[in-house]
Point group: C2
Chain length 159, copies 2
């Protein structure tokens, strides 16, 4: 059985954080998605100990977020690439990046830009309704208990 960090939580946010919420984990994924894939390059880019990096990478491979492949035989060396499940965390990283850009701005401007390939426009995360297709403001979202909650709703109101 998997170790559970938040055992009393029936919540997809809690479950996601059990997979990728540990210190360094999302920064490792960020680097891999940006093209830094080799173990030694990740050590250098992150300024992290080899032991901690190895532990986090093992966890991400176990969770199916990253795939490991050897790129050299003697001595054996490994590189890591994101699976579709790992690439699907791009939205989490994008949301964290834009929040940091907005509330902890670097003096010279954003450290990194996300641009629409071809068009060159800045890309943003936007809440969108899957029924009426409108852009949705966060204040117009109701977070309601779903079928997986089993009637156990400890919270009093919607968002």
């Amino acid at each position: 059985m998997l170790h559970s960090d938040y055992p009393e939580q029936t919540c997809s946010i809690a479950r996601s954080l059990e997979a990728v919420g540990e210190r360094w984990t999302l920064l490792i994924l960020r680097d891999v998605l940006l093209g830094t894939t080799r173990f030694d390059d990740l050590v250098e880019s992150l300024g992290i100990t080899r032991t901690v990096l190895a532990r986090r990478l093992d966890h991400l491979v176990e969770e199916g977020v990253l795939e490991r492949r050897p790129y050299q035989q003697r001595p054996e060396r490994f590189a890591y690439t994101a699976t579709p499940k790992g690439r699907a965390l791009g939205g989490v990283l994008t949301a964290l990046m834009h929040w940091g850009d907005a509330y902890y701005p670097a003096s010279d401007g954003p450290p990194r830009l996300m641009l629409h390939r071809g068009c060159g426009g800045a890309v943003r995360q936007q809440l969108t309704c899957t029924v009426c297709a409108e852009r949705v403001d966060g204040a117009d979202v109701d977070a309601v208990p779903g079928p997986g909650l089993g009637g156990r709703d400890l919270h009093r109101t919607g968002v």
Copy 2:
């Protein structure tokens, strides 16, 4: 000077995680946004020790993510509400929730639904181009060094 968890990182994702990346922090914010605002109710909802909760709440107030106000005088008791900066993290929580729903599905369906008020449609995070206004697939995003990086780009390619 603020303590820095990731001192060698010039990155808005790293900066954001210094503010809200600690264990329990995003789950506390989730509860507050869902309407559980009192200290004692948060203890019960989260299954967290009072000491850890108090420490995390202090940090979130210092960072300007939550506001503290007394709701009772003798004995004095406090409640917490999200600031605009805290509400702006809704996109991060939404992205984590949808990733968890997709890759760690509960047997009965999602524990929680995010619905467009009035319309009732499911709400999704969608990458959108701010220039051509099109929906953008993650594979069509280039993450390029921005002005705040100061020319120090350790990564080799765009996403």
